[in-house]
Symmetry: none
Subunit: 205 residues, 4 copies
């Protein structure tokens, strides 16, 4: 079954799609709860009450499953963020909305975020290099900043550095939520949005 017809991607039946979704959802739960090292086909299958080989059957390998998990969460994030961002026009509004919708998605999808974090940090090639780099998100953000500068909406900072700083702030939140008992996400969103706004704003003249 896994034998893709020619080079084309095989059409998937409804049932198969459902199973795949079920397995991906369960993988996310296990990853978020127990971490990458403790996530195995056996553990996922056990939770679903199915046999291990079902997973091999549908995904052909651990790598593929994890990749699908990452992709699924990415797609969900995109579905949430993109329409909101598209609705904005000014560069500052785009940046603010990017940031806010990203943080909201993280707030509302804690498990999914934890899962892809596990995947990003742990999946490696045989030579040890990380399989998922994640420079992509930074580049997208940098693009927003650059366009804003072109429009004269932002101050004249280095876009690459600023993009990284923002990503670091955003991605750090997950850890903060996990460790800080007093953590309040909504307050933090407002603060971060304000902080970034100030940090990118043109100096008042």
């Amino acid at each position: 079954m896994r034998s893709e017809n020619r080079t084309a991607v095989r059409q998937r039946t409804f049932t198969e799609e459902a199973r795949r979704g079920q397995i991906i959802a369960c993988a996310i739960e296990v990853l978020a709860e127990l971490g990458y090292a403790q996530t195995s086909f056996a553990r996922i299958a056990e939770r679903l009450g199915i046999s291990k080989s079902v997973i091999s059957y549908h995904f052909g390998g651990k790598d593929e499953l994890l990749e699908q998990v990452a992709q699924a969460v990415y797609a969900a994030a995109a579905r949430y963020m993109i329409p909101r961002i598209r609705a904005q026009h000014s560069a500052r509004a785009v940046l603010g909305t990017y940031l806010r919708s990203n943080l909201e998605f993280i707030r509302d999808h804690g498990k999914d975020i934890d899962a892809v974090t596990e995947i990003f940090l742990n999946v490696r090639r045989k030579d040890g290099s990380r399989r998922f780099a994640g420079g992509q998100a930074v580049r997208a953000l940098q693009e927003i900043l650059r366009r804003g500068q072109d429009e004269g909406a932002f101050a004249d900072f280095d876009t690459r550095t600023m993009a990284w700083a923002i990503r670091n702030l955003v991605d750090g939140l997950t850890r903060q939520r996990a460790l800080d008992p007093e953590f309040d996400f909504d307050t933090c969103i407002d603060e971060l949005v304000a902080l970034v706004d100030r940090a990118t704003r043109k100096a008042a003249s």
Copy 2:
């Protein structure tokens, strides 16, 4: 040997100390290079050209080895940072030196930092909860900020949030270094120090 007379800490031989150091150093290399999941006694022993059981002999367990690795890096960081911080008096100088020395240590000990990152993120208890929380560093930083506020050296921000933000910026650098081909650490240090200084500074009157 692992017998540990009573519960007291056994006196360690010179040879043993050397071996332990050698093993810890090698563990750091493997962790940084291949990641937590691929780090095993077998791999470490192979690199050192010794038998697996040597590691069991000196460390008695994977957990203990990893804990020692974390401790070793911690101790090294403390040895580097503490004297520099102690030399400062004003709260702002203390904060700046804390930050700068921390960043310098990260810059100069990339592998060690990567290794403890792997450990922090992946070592878990059987129930899935993380074994190394790391809230400690945040508390230390918060204490610095609080004292500075008492002295009137800082603005009136929320110390907990600010402490977390700073830590997120600092810890994010490791990833940035790994992923950003153009990353320049020294520039970044200066920028971050300046950024934090501005973010904590009392509004000019």
Copy 3:
């Protein structure tokens, strides 16, 4: 497979039941022949010409395998003894049949008895206490004796002590068979049955 849907007992395939039986039988042989300490998955698998992990697959752990061995022999003994005992009515006939059928089972299932003996004596919890106590058999015997006394069929001995004495005699036979080259089981059965009959019989009046 070992996944066990919920906590319910999984339905077992014919093939699985066969393999389990095969493994249990082989475990009994190894236990009886080489003793508990030398009984390992490796040794059993080697004899069966299968891979070690097959046993892990079917039993999930050494403890479970040994427990199943004990249970299997117990069940076989019960299947042999219970119908014979049930066919009796008078207390003395019940006691005699209990004893004789027990001894016959021991005579005919030497290896099985040796195997469970190894298990009983050696399987322990982490704190060192024995996992299989075995006071159950004594209590059953004591109950027979007590009922007989109530019916006036037996003399007025202490049932607990007598129950233990009988069990000690019965269980000692295994060792005797192993060590005494001239040992004749059938003669011994008759002697023991007669001995116990005399020891419990009401004094002639």
Copy 4:
């Protein structure tokens, strides 16, 4: 050091004898407490606060240590029983004293008995056969019975069977003590001595 001069047994220094005794005593404790399978050089050494190799040094091997343990307990039992038995003259008194002193020794040396039981049941040769048979004790008892019959002091039972039955009763007590919470040793000694006396006594004429 272990290299015995010629074939003769090396003279042992006082210190060495002390260490050996200490190790043997500790081995007995571990055996009795945790059982054969959990008894290792490591565990013994740990309890004594010495290094494993000390044991290897003094005993040259696990087998030798266990043999010495068995021998030590045997010797102690002999020291206790033999003078008492020698003080008797009539066959019936000899039998009674043999039995009573044996039971008293078992009562007073529970740990030692448990230890040698572990050894007897578990130590095996490579081919699986038991290394310590223990038919010796039965033969000694049988000799007592035979001499008594010759003197006309006992009934005309089969001495071999009777010897085994008595040994089984005696050896079963250890298990009974371990499992029966209401077990009272002294009562049991009296009962057993009386029981055996009746079982061997010439029928009144």
